[in-house]
């Protein structure tokens, strides 16, 4: 009998401990101000967002803004959605995650937010392209962009009298010349498969239509045709890279470029902080990847690195808009761009970091095309497919697999697009 009582004690004790510690965490704060909760996905920008948060709360008496910058934010955001503890504003990238969240109907239409008129048209178009099926309304405020192409060691270029290439042939000639002078033209970190996307995206910007993925979904074309030129040209880069490019990681490649082991590095502006951490005094500049045979055809590879969306579940639209207005004030935009070496999506005369000098004309004129991989479903792992292709060198196999896999990983989306088109025809017929 005694045994029975005692053995019943421990589960009860366990539950009691659990209940106690659970109760301790449910404190409620009494604050009359309207609460706005924002989650943004760039942990490297945590400092500048803390500053912006404090500044906002100092200047606003009726709204309390909290900005969270969690590590591994995409996982955290998804769990927040599952828990239904949805923030009011999210700051994410203009990529497939945005498309998916939009497709899951999580964002609010913010067409009536007046700040949209100050955003560069090209970035709003990028967001439009990211919609699986064209939607009415606007769902994000593009905030910061980044640019990718070729970073080069300005000191090395000046010492050797090398000039910036503007066509594919000039680029190959330059690589040849650098090699002849006993230097390493390119360095790749293809052990980290995602870096394979850097040259791929930059070349696709010049050679493939920006909305190719949407066109394929509509059944108008296939990747076999659209990507053929890019696929053939990207292979030509390998002989100019270091031996065994698949044995070195992104970090290795950044270190090598920082130490002057190569003259150029095909990557985005986002790599500059990592490079400078190794060699703080390095003089880095960049140019647009010249993959096209005509200089005019080349476009800068630039996408939306950070944009803000108001969640559908947000109850205080006006307060959320006030936060957006604040973030879009010129001095705050400049503050963010300085901290993150980024390109502002807002119209206006902002100061840009020096390593973007070579890309400046393209940025000013809006001659840009988005990263192709922002349209690829993550689970298709196109980066690994490109790595495989670069190792094996068979364009037909690669492109054939690309088309086949695309259908497999996107069939629900393709179905939706087809349904949408059919409905559109019906409406048009009426």
């Amino acid at each position: 009998m005694k045994g029975r009582v005692k053995s019943a004690v421990w589960p009860a004790a366990v539950l009691a401990v659990m209940a106690l510690s659970a109760a301790g965490c449910g404190k409620t704060s009494e604050d009359a101000r309207t609460q706005v909760r924002m989650v943004q996905y760039k942990p490297e920008a945590v400092k500048v967002f803390e500053e912006l948060e404090n500044e906002f709360n100092r200047t606003h008496e009726d709204i309390k803004l909290t900005i969270e910058s969690p590590n591994d934010a995409m996982t955290v955001l998804k769990t927040m959605f599952v828990k239904e503890e949805i923030p009011d504003i999210v700051g994410i990238g203009g990529d497939i995650n945005y498309s998916n969240f939009l497709d899951a109907d999580m964002f609010m239409d913010i067409s009536d937010y007046e700040g949209l008129s100050e955003v560069k048209e090209v970035y709003l178009e990028i967001d439009k392209n990211l919609e699986f099926v064209p939607l009415k309304g606007t769902y994000a405020v593009p905030y910061a962009g980044n640019a990718a192409g070729v970073l080069y060691n300005r000191t090395m270029f000046q010492e050797n009298g090398w000039t910036i290439p503007t066509t594919w042939q000039e680029f190959l000639d330059l690589c040849e010349r650098i090699k002849d002078q006993g230097q390493q033209p390119l360095y790749f970190g293809f052990k980290d498969t995602w870096t394979c996307l850097a040259p791929w995206n930059a070349m696709c910007a010049d050679l493939a239509p920006a909305d190719i993925c949407a066109r394929v979904n509509r059944g108008e074309t296939v990747f076999k045709d659209a990507y053929r030129e890019t696929a053939e040209k990207i292979l030509k880069l390998i002989p100019y890279a270091q031996k065994d490019p698949y044995g070195y990681s992104y970090n290795d490649a950044c270190t090598a470029f920082a130490r002057g082991e190569s003259a150029m590095y095909v990557i985005g502006s986002y790599a500059v902080p990592q490079i400078k951490s190794v060699n703080p005094d390095m003089d880095i500049d960049s140019f647009v990847f010249p993959a096209a045979d005509e200089a005019e055809q080349n476009l800068l590879n630039s996408g939306i690195d950070l944009q803000f969306s108001v969640m559908k579940a947000c109850e205080n639209k006006e307060a959320a808009y006030e936060v957006l207005r604040f973030l879009q004030e010129d001095q705050n935009v400049q503050k963010y761009m300085d901290a993150q070496n980024a390109v502002p999506c807002k119209e206006g005369d902002f100061e840009l970091p020096s390593m973007l000098d070579g890309m400046l004309p393209y940025i000013r004129e809006g001659k840009m095309a988005d990263y192709q991989d922002h349209y690829y479903p993550a689970e298709m792992t196109v980066d690994a497919m490109i790595q495989t292709y670069l190792m094996e060198g068979d364009p037909d196999a690669f492109l054939g697999k690309f088309d086949a896999d695309w259908k497999r990983y996107n069939r629900d989306i393709i179905r939706k697009v087809k349904e949408f088109e059919r409905d559109g025809e019906k409406e048009g017929g009426r």
């Binding site: 029975r4 052990k191 690994a384």
Partner: protein
């Protein structure tokens, strides 16, 4: 009679709450995940029912097939290497040696290190140190980074996986050796049983339960290999080292394939349970014979 009932009752009173707890936080969510395997759920938001599509896809998806092959090859090789080495190590560390505690502490270290540290250190060794040593010795084979070659990458992952997990299995073998009474050896010593013979007929049968535990834990840990892949190759080169768990995490969590990967996870679960129950019954029978 009263005594037997009291004993039975106590056992039940211990077992039932444990069962409830386990059901609530393991089986119930597993069943929910099983339900998702019939949908195209992305992990959040709305979803549609797709019937058995995810399961039929499993058998036509080349990546899934390749990942099963890789994972099983890896697990079998690793299990053998680790069990042999940790058994040897456990005997060594359990024999009459100097600085026993210090040595045991040292051999345990790899198990405490986190995935990123081990991954980065070994990446460095594979990328810079081994090739340099290889060229110095004039070996063409060694002068390339093992991780960038589809033929050798898996062996490199086996080496790192074994390096990290030998510690755990050694501990279990050591705690097993502790249960072997000294007098067994004394008796054995009198009969002139030494070396291999002594191990085969005296020690091994006594630590067989621990051998069972280690076989099962090893198979489980290696079949679910994830950290080493993440830290060393991220599934590369050329997708040759994608393990099943890697696909489930990467595509289920980071990608939008939660439904499909739930189906994969469920199939995988069934496969490992079958293997392990088989292991447990075969080894259990052996234990009984002795």
């Amino acid at each position: 009679m009263e005594k037997t009932n009291e004993r039975k009752r106590t056992f039940l009173l211990i077992t039932i709450p444990v069962l409830i707890l386990f059901f609530l936080f393991n089986t119930l969510p597993l069943l929910k995940g099983f339900v998702y395997s019939f949908t195209n759920f992305k992990g959040y938001g709305s979803y549609d029912w797709v019937g058995l599509r995810n399961y039929t896809d499993l058998f036509t998806d080349g990546r899934i097939g390749k990942s099963y092959l890789f994972t099983f090859k890896y697990a079998v090789v690793c299990t053998i290497i680790v069990n042999v080495l940790s058994l040897v190590l456990a005997f060594g560390l359990n024999s009459r040696i100097k600085a026993k505690s210090a040595l045991r502490g040292v051999y345990f270290l790899p198990n405490v290190l986190g995935g990123l540290v081990v991954g980065y250190i070994f990446s460095f060794i594979f990328t810079y140190i081994l090739p340099a040593a290889g060229s110095a010795m004039g070996s063409e084979f060694l002068s390339q980074n093992m991780l960038s070659n589809t033929k050798t990458a898996w062996a490199a992952i086996v080496a790192v996986g074994a390096w990290q997990s030998i510690a755990m299995n050694t501990i279990i073998y050591i705690s097993g050796l502790q249960t072997v009474p000294e007098d067994v050896y004394e008796a054995g010593g009198l009969d002139g049983a030494t070396g291999w013979k002594r191990f085969r007929h005296l020690t091994f049968p006594l630590i067989l339960p621990f051998f069972t535990i280690n076989m099962v834990l090893c198979m489980k840990n290696f079949l679910m290999v994830f950290d080493q892949i993440m830290a060393l190759t991220k599934g590369g080169p050329a997708q040759s080292t994608e393990s099943i768990s890697y696909l489930i995490y990467q595509n289920g969590m980071n990608g939008g394939q939660f439904g499909f990967q739930s189906a994969n996870a469920f199939l995988f679960f069934v496969v490992i349970v079958v293997i392990s129950v088989f292991q447990l019954t075969v080894l259990g029978k052996k234990e009984e014979q002795l």
